[in-house]
Symmetry: C2
Subunit: 694 residues, 2 copies
């Protein structure tokens, strides 16, 4: 599934041949910002390009789920369509041992039955302002810690000023495009009252489960609907995408608007190799181990299975996505083409006097910083990224401890994730009433402490300080048994009480966070000074050279901000076989075996006779998407929603580094299937009428 | 721990710079066969070289444990010293829910109390014959399947002839050295009646557990003793290594004689890259997932922990060893030096008319075969290597099904693992009375079937054929519930009944093996024809070029056959710190925390006052070893045993590809610690007297 993935970087070295004449720089369709669409190329490729009105509607009809997904408004009454897997956390949270909505599905028969999703926030982008000059002026001539501080400060000021009028309703972010080539201020409308309206059974949303994930043909109703409320009423939205009841045709031009999380197409060769090494040595082994652990934890009982399902899905999904990325990074073709690109750019720089001095050694500087990052990363990822303490209790304790310290500082001097613009979302997460399961937290904490000792060694001073004479399992059990942070009233009191309350707290996770925090901050300072600021500065230089050579013919790397990608509904060829672009509802019945994850829910078996089995179910298109695009609407040239992106095929996983139109495909639920299933299986006619704009 | 690791290969391509002038070919100390020791170099490096008598004793005093370890004779009455982890399987097998010898340790107070290890076989190398000409003549001019058949046939004939007189007592193998540069016939004396004499508690043998594995300083009593019997009496052995009661001194020359499993120092660049890719994409993720699974399975209860401990140890040990290898393969320095070596050799070939035509394109041929291997491997590893069906029930079923078919053929036409020379060991494993735990087998089978579906896809024809409409978990449960193969009488009947009995069997694993076997054989035939024979033929050519350029100044790659490595007791430098070569018994008490795996057993806590805490416990030396060397004796120039190899340090894991004397270290138990612990902790004075030759 195309959720956003998070992780770190690393370093390695290699020298490659420059054999290919077609460089990547000319070959990417790309993920375009809506204030700078490639209309000429679209006209040429599709025979159509968007009017200003179409683009305006697309901008305001699109939405982002703050946790890492895309979505869109589909009615004037604030109805929001996204993927089931993007709402799964909420569905899990409103379930309990008695009622499992992941398993059974959920339908609010009336608006009164819509159920609050406490940790969910929906954002709608409303305004983009260019602040490149302001940011660059603030950091000019600085380096290391000073550079980082100045950058944090100017961004804190820009976002605070932007959100000043209505902090609860406006969110502002400074977005770096082209790795520092441009800085833009993005202003979002934030919806924090989000309620679940509809979700099918997970067995239908994720039919085929992990085995079919990132594959096609597919038969998934990976959809969920929430509604945003304001002042206790459904929010009135002016722009939304009505559903097209027929879905798209083969060959039809289609556009996705969504929030691709991150791509690495502009990284240097050294950065790609660092990423490859870290994936291979650290990230994939850890995910795999957690996968085995969670699978077997689910065997403890029905309740354990329920409370671990979403985490297991995230782990399996990340594993498969990152495995595909590693596969791409081990493909010599990719590195050769990247090297050819880099060599061409370096040659251009060396022959351009205005650039030679300024940009000349930027690649070596970055390579050097990546080398250093490899040394710093083990400790940094354990203590500052928190890999050693993988439990919600610790995340909350750390937010309370850091929050208390940071809020005493002026806004511009805080760690960016604690500045005024970021606090509302942080508080929403911190005070969420979503249940926490001690047995599960204890499992994850035991695992992560054990890994920390493995990564850093049993003789590491911090490891020794934290474990003392305890085993990871006993320490985890003891901390979890004694903490009060599961009670949101306790968290409220600590947040409101500030540093004084935190310092007096006897809670073991607060005390642990107080112990770890100075160590983590020290690592962060070092990392920012020696790695991050060096990479940012030198990436800006390389971006300048890229602009000089190639202009902005390329879309910027994805940054979990709104992008449009255009393409057509189209199958592909795999090992000489044609993969057709559509599946049908009937195909799901053919594929079903009766055993999970190929077991259809009762509701579908009962509805089979009523369903038009020829209805298109899922389809693929040539749109360029990536993790974070989950939940993106697929629009036709009339601005109607014809599909709902929920995945990419396996070749698309290499899309982090390059786009190959021959084989990369987005995978979507057909709007015709949405209508047919909601009407015939779930009796949700009121909702389909609302979405069709009737 | 330095157990032998098993796994497959893969492919990738890359072009590298040739910057370094010192090539690997001149830099390796190496693992030498005992019929060709580098005596001049030893004299130069150590100021000593072995006499013919010393070497003769070393040859006959060394032993191999057929499953994948080294060992040595330490008394005239057939007493054999090896590592605890090399005997763990036996220790686990003689344990049950009532008595856990892994946890409590084991000491036979008299010879009558020594306990049979049903699946263990000890081999002693007695004779080496050069058969290079015979093998090469048989395969001359052939390629593909014909080449492979001829090679199998000549080897089957050589080994059958060699073992003809006493099949039960003699084992013969054809060993390929220098990747086909030489072929030697190795004749072993086989001891199949092996009995456990002594093992300390696993918590002492493996003090520090996985966190400390491959680390130093260490404090492990990783030893176990077995005795070999013949005709119901302790076997009389003429050559053995008496223990030296003091252990070695810092700087003292020491020799290891043991059975390093495999190194890849002579592989081509394409082969190394293929190995890197396969480790990163397939091997490490699978091991990690199994690791998480087994860890959590052990939480089901005490008994589940007991029955899964040895498998978990193997998985964690393999993971750490292969992770170290991958780290080395991602090190640009390694690949650059390998490339420099390869370039030098290729240049030599291109300038040597006699070699140019014959050897010229061998590297490309191998690269091409590795590329093909990548396509064939997924199915090959699942069905022919058996990764899809990871349970002892299936291994046994397959041995019964294949055994029935192969034994109907003439010896020379059989699959090599079923030829006459191989049958005794196969039967020993097949008929072993070692207990099988259905719950555990079901866990592993569920896991492996799920992985097979993941690797090959849910639409794979063989996967569909095997799973049918079942989930992996249900299928596994059903097969395990219905099989009778846990009963060794049933296996005996099927083996003795041959093909007729197998075809009539209603056992579900036999039926499964009958279904899978033709598919697996087809994959094997294809792999042998298109990959294996191409690599073997072309490796022989490259070996010829290496001989022509470098002679036999290099030791051949390890092949799990007897090798000597020389070095000195010596610490190393790590991040600017000196790591001293010795630890002491007292250090274990300092390091202990009371929590596993840093918890000392009761026996040691009780004996503390009696122990001389200054006794050296573990030490490191510069000997070049690798997985399979576990259990190797460390000998002084007098042929006395001064240490017992049980591990290498982390840098030594790169030893698969190169040896760096600055940091690679072997880790051994000091003979002084063996004596002190057995006398003062375990009251095993009779055994220490026997080992001291008193």
């Amino acid at each position: 599934m195309f959720l956003r993935n998070q992780w770190n970087k690393s370093q390695c070295l290699g020298v490659l041949s420059f054999a290919l004449s077609v460089t990547l720089a000319q070959a990417e369709p790309g993920m375009w910002t809506l204030d700078h669409l490639p209309t000429a190329a679209m006209q040429k490729d599709l025979g159509w390009s968007p009017s200003a009105d179409w683009t305006h509607k697309a901008l305001l009809g699109a939405a982002r789920i703050a946790g890492g997904c895309s979505a869109s408004f589909v009615s004037k009454d604030g109805l929001v369509l996204t993927n089931h897997h993007c709402a799964a956390q909420c569905i899990e949270e409103i379930s309990d041992a008695g009622k499992n909505y992941l398993k059974e599905g959920f339908l609010a028969k009336s608006r009164a039955e819509e159920r609050s999703c406490p940790a969910m926030e929906v954002n709608r982008l409303e305004k983009i302002t260019d602040v490149t000059e302001t940011v660059k002026r603030a950091t000019q001539g600085l380096s290391g810690t000073e550079f980082q501080k100045a950058k944090n400060a100017v961004e804190a000021n820009l976002t605070a000023e932007c959100a000043a009028k209505e902090k609860e309703k406006i969110r502002c972010d400074v977005v770096s495009l082209y790795h520092g080539g441009q800085y833009k201020l993005y202003q979002y409308h934030r919806f924090q009252d989000v309620r679940l309206v509809f979700a099918p059974e997970q067995s239908m949303a994720f039919f085929g489960g992990d085995p079919d994930n990132f594959n096609f043909p597919r038969f998934d109703l990976d959809m969920a609907m929430v509604r945003v409320y304001e002042g206790g009423q459904p929010a009135a939205v002016a722009e939304f995408f009505p559903l097209n009841a027929q879905g798209p045709q083969a060959g039809e031009p289609v556009m996705t608007v969504g929030h691709p999380g991150s791509t690495q197409r502009e990284l240097t060769l050294a950065q790609l190799q660092a990423r490859r090494d870290n994936l291979a040595l650290n990230v994939l082994p850890r995910l795999s181990q957690e996968r085995g652990l969670l699978t077997e934890f689910g065997e403890r009982g029905v309740e354990q299975k329920r409370i671990s399902t979403t985490e297991l899905f995230h782990v399996e999904n990340s594993f498969k996505a990152l495995h595909g990325q590693l596969d791409a990074l081990l493909n010599p073709g990719l590195l050769e083409r990247k090297a050819a690109d880099e060599a061409a750019l370096q040659e251009f720089v060396s022959k351009t006097p205005a650039l030679k001095n300024e940009v000349g050694d930027a690649w070596q500087q970055i390579a050097q910083a990546e080398k250093l990052a490899k040394d710093i990363r083990p400790a940094y990822s354990q203590w500052e990224s928190g890999a050693a303490l993988q439990t919600r209790y610790y995340s909350m304790a750390r937010a309370l401890v850091r929050g208390a310290a940071e809020r005493e500082k002026p806004n511009a001097e805080r760690l960016p994730e604690y500045n005024e613009s970021a606090l509302p979302q942080l508080q929403a997460r911190l005070f969420s009433a979503a249940p926490i399961y001690p047995e599960f937290e204890s499992l994850l904490l035991t695992f992560s402490l054990t890994k920390a000792r493995e990564v850093l060694g049993a003789d590491d001073e911090v490891v020794k300080q934290i474990l003392g004479l305890e085993s990871p399992a006993n320490l985890a059990k003891d901390l979890v048994a004694r903490t009060q942070l599961g009670d949101s009233a306790v968290r409220h009191a600590l947040w409101d009480g500030g540093m004084a309350a935190v310092m007096q707290s006897q809670d073991p996770f607060i005390q642990l966070a107080l112990k770890v925090d100075p160590i983590a901050r020290g690592l962060r300072t070092r990392y920012e000074k020696e790695v991050e600021s060096v990479i940012t500065k030198n990436s800006e230089k390389i971006a300048k050279a890229r602009f000089a050579l190639w202009g902005d013919r390329q879309a910027p790397d994805a940054t979990f901000t709104l992008r449009l990608s255009y393409g057509r509904v189209k199958g592909w060829q795999e090992r000489g076989r044609d993969i057709p672009p559509f599946t049908t509802l009937g195909g799901a019945f053919t594929r079903a075996t009766g055993a999970e994850p190929f077991k259809l829910p009762e509701s579908w078996l009962a509805a089979k006779a009523r369903l038009n089995l020829a209805t298109p179910f899922n389809f693929v298109s040539t749109n360029d998407i990536i993790g974070g695009n989950s939940g993106s609407p697929v629009l036709n040239t009339h601005g109607e929603l014809v599909g709902l992106v929920f995945d990419g095929n396996l070749p698309s996983l290499g899309g982090a580094y390059w786009f190959d139109e021959a084989v990369n495909r987005a995978v979507a639920v057909d709007s015709a299937a949405i209508i047919e299933a909601m009407n015939q299986v779930y009796g949700a006619q009121a909702l389909t009428q609302e979405m069709l704009g009737h």
